[in-house]
């Protein structure tokens, strides 16, 4: 009895919503390949979305391998991508490859959305274990619960969309800031080069004529 209620409670605590998602942003150094693994179960679905937020060409190689080692998805030099796979039991591996770039490190954002991952009996979240007292309404409670569940699902979706928008905005902002630095650098360089070239031109011409004079006399 204890184990059953523990399990139900754990499922409830860990999965108030049907789909679980996590996102990570990390730095991929130049010339490196980084791999991550996710344990999946049969008949669930794995959705992965990634974006390159910063770093030179804003592109990266992406690959997804099944637990048996087959390459399911391979993207080459893409800036962002989204893929969904129906999964089987095992550990899925996905890799971000920056070996084509020797100098620039990339900042990569990826989001994993797992569906149908409840793996214990009692898929219906039951929080009655640790609530205190009962609600006075009885008949209409079910309707209220349904509405609340649907509101919760929509809010969850809003949060997800916010995460994606944040990633887009971060990428645009990084792009702009690197543009800004580039403009500064090349403007200064341009100024120095122009002044130096102008001076050198005048000096060369003058020295040309001075030598001629000396050779004449």
């Amino acid at each position: 009895l204890l184990r059953g209620s523990c399990a139900r409670a754990a499922v409830a605590a860990a999965s108030f919503s049907q789909s679980l998602d996590s996102d990570f942003t990390f730095t991929l150094p130049a010339g490196r390949k980084e791999c991550f693994y996710q344990t999946m179960r049969k008949d669930a679905s794995l959705e992965i979305e990634y974006q390159v937020l910063d770093g030179a060409g804003l592109d990266v190689d992406f690959s997804l391998y099944s637990p048996s080692g087959n390459m399911l998805i391979a993207d080459y030099r893409k800036s962002d991508g989204v893929h969904t796979v129906e999964t089987e039991d095992g550990d899925y591996m996905f890799c971000f490859d920056n070996t084509f770039s020797a100098v620039s490190e990339k900042i990569i954002f990826f989001e994993l959305i797992l569906d149908n991952m409840e793996d214990l009996e009692g898929g219906d979240p039951d929080w009655k274990e640790y609530v205190h007292g009962t609600d006075m309404l009885d008949m209409k409670l079910e309707d209220i619960m349904d509405t609340i569940n649907s509101v919760k699902a929509r809010l969850g979706k809003s949060l997800q969309i916010q995460t994606v928008l944040r990633a887009f905005e971060a990428r645009d902002r990084n792009l702009q800031e690197s543009n800004y630095e580039r403009v500064n650098l090349w403007s200064c360089t341009n100024l120095i080069v122009m002044v130096v070239v102008s001076g050198v031109q005048v000096y060369l011409l003058r020295s040309l004529f001075d030598d001629k004079r000396k050779s004449r006399t």
Partner: protein, 215 residues
């Protein structure tokens, strides 16, 4: 009973958590861009490759991870050693990109011995950090009240994120406008400099040739 429940939750959470391999001296860093006054809880679990059994051992006593967290101004917020399983928490006081870095503290080469360390990681941000069973027990909430509280927390998080988004867009707009202005002014200045330099060169050379009696 409560302890068993939270233990089971931990294991479940890690069964669906991401994992990756880390070398001995390797440092893995993750960036979390968060608004201010947001709580972040990170949990990790390590496993060591055992050559004899050809599999990953459940836990490795004596092998810890060093966790270092920097705020957007690259000031260190947290820098601590944890054991082979660890849980770290921090609350942001400035909005921006916080960096969470992990590296193993193993000094004995024998522990790794050419193998790799498997790290299961789970980072929860904002309203995901709330422990609802605990809140229900503390405030003595009914089921309906608990669910409404959860919705309120979610909406609160969304609103905080939107405020932060507004601040970021403002910064973005300022950078864009500044770049635009600089490009414009620099183009005008460059054209003027070229013209002035050209005119000066012609006049100087002309007077020079005249002085040398070549023209």
């Amino acid at each position: 009973m409560y302890i068993t429940r939270s233990c089971l939750t931990q294991i479940l959470m890690f069964r669906r958590a991401l994992y990756f391999h880390i070398g001995e001296t390797e440092k893995k860093c993750f960036i979390e861009e968060i608004p201010d006054e947001t709580m972040v809880i990170g949990k990790y679990r390590t496993q060591l490759w055992d050559k004899q059994t050809g599999s990953f051992l459940p836990s490795t006593p004596g092998l810890g991870m060093h966790v270092e967290i920097k705020d957007p101004d690259t000031k260190i917020v947290l820098s601590r050693q944890y054991g082979s399983d660890g849980r770290f928490t921090f609350t942001s006081h400035t909005p921006g990109e916080h960096q969470i870095c992990l590296h193993s503290n193993s000094t004995k080469m024998a522990l790794f011995a050419g193998g790799k360390l498997r790290v299961h990681l789970d980072i929860q941000v904002g309203e995901h950090t709330n422990n609802y069973p605990e809140i229900a027990a503390k405030d003595k909430l009914t089921e309906l009240q608990l669910r409404v509280r959860q919705l309120l927390d979610q909406v609160d998080q969304i609103q905080k994120e939107q405020n932060y988004q507004r601040y970021r867009e403002e910064r973005f707009r300022m950078t864009s406008e500044s770049t635009n202005q600089r490009v414009l002014w620099w183009s005008i200045t460059q054209t003027l400099i070229l013209l002035v330099t050209g005119v000066w060169q012609m006049r100087h050379l002309k007077s020079f040739f005249e002085a040398k009696k070549l023209v």
